[in-house]
Symmetry: C2
DNA sequence: ACAGTATGGATAGCGACACTCTCCACTATC
DNA sequence: GATAGTGGAGAGTGTCGCTATCCATACTGT
């Protein structure tokens, strides 16, 4: 198919598709003449994936490029693939310093120890967690740390489900894409469910009232 | 204190503080003369809160304004406060249409029913969940829906912890801020813990190898 | 008292980002 | 052979979160 049809089928503007081609998040079509190319269902699928990563996952175009680079070069080491996707999604950690931050790092180390998790305490995610705890502390909400065990238990369950899902993939390629899709969509899914559960729990405890929508 | 000291203490540039004042996310200082104002510890705290919402929660300035508007007008109805904060954080849902979307909505309705959650199935969060499921379907990953029960159980646990945390607040003002902080920081906390748990679980299943950092 | 600095307020500018538009030589199609 | 569409490249657009510049006035140190 040609670019106009790819655009029509995907609902993405031609100019945007050209932009994605330029940015390298969509591979070029197969040349049929100096200025004519042919796009396949693979391009259609890739375009959907790009849109999902951008719209649902909130990734930047550069982040999408990173993730797709990993998906396209499937390593047998899924741990590596997982870490790469995670890094593309959460490129944050710009380490802060200070007493609250140090004690937050201790808290995280202790948590990992208590849980027996095989995650290094200098992992970006662990650093991010320490940063969040330090922020809560600075805001005068040190009680957030008390939530850690329950949050961690829930996160552990989710992670097991995630890895089970990846394990079901028939091929390495599928597993790599499964990691990307699962990481990105899983985050949104979990966030949505948390909000729903909060609303439900809130209604159960405090009553319905204006419940659903305040605006 | 004057603006220069507020800037020094908070690490936020004077120009940025002026910008926040203009945007209404920081209340004006107390006038002492036509062009002189005095800022208190309250401003310092508010500034920290704004930075946390922006940096950790990824909220836009407009989103911060919405959240703070709710925090500053504490309603006795915590369900309302919760919903408002949620809306400011996830203003997404721009409803799509199509067969996958409809069946995703059915799936969500059924899930709510099975779980016995008191969350209306037309709640924005439920819509967001349906959108995610539809996206997964369109991407050729219909198996994501199988993860729902385990995800939901985990989300339920987290939500109970969240509401327990809010319940501990001594005053209504504190509860309102607790909702905002808890919702925003809780999301980041949960995401970080999920990543850590994924890494841990991945190492347990597939071995260490390049584990922590691929780049 | 008076130079030097800081302040609040308003306006304009900047850099990043994700597109979107315009132009071009050329090709496909009617 | 007129018309519409193509790939490619560059410039332009709108939004966002600041950041810089001005200005008249106010505070500060000597």
């Amino acid at each position: 198919m040609r670019i106009a049809e790819l655009s029509k089928r995907s609902g993405v503007a031609v100019a945007t598709i050209k932009y994605y081609l330029r940015e390298g998040v969509l591979p070029p079509g197969e040349r049929t003449s100096p200025n004519q190319a042919d796009y396949s269902e693979k391009h259609q699928h890739r375009l959907r994936l790009v849109r999902a990563l951008v719209e649902v996952g909130g990734l930047s175009i550069a982040g999408v490029r990173d993730v797709l680079g990993t998906v396209d070069a499937p390593q047998p080491d899924l741990t590596w693939t997982l870490s790469t996707v995670q890094l593309a999604m959460f490129p944050i950690p710009e380490a802060t310093e200070g007493p609250t931050r140090s004690s937050a790092e201790d808290t995280v180390t202790r948590l990992l120890d208590d849980l027996g998790w095989s995650c290094p305490s200098d992992h970006p995610a662990a650093q991010a967690l320490a940063a969040v705890l330090a922020t809560a502390d600075d805001l005068g909400h040190p009680g957030m740390a008390d939530l850690l065990p329950r949050y961690a238990r829930a996160a552990g369950e989710v992670a097991k489900a995630d890895l089970d899902y990846i394990d079901r993939s028939p091929s390495l390629d599928d597993a790599a894409e499964g990691v990307a899709v699962g990481t990105v969509l899983g985050d949104s899914m979990l966030a949505a469910l948390r909000r729903m559960a909060q609303v439900s729990e809130s209604i159960n405890r405090y009553g319905e009232k204006a419940g659903a929508k305040p605006g």
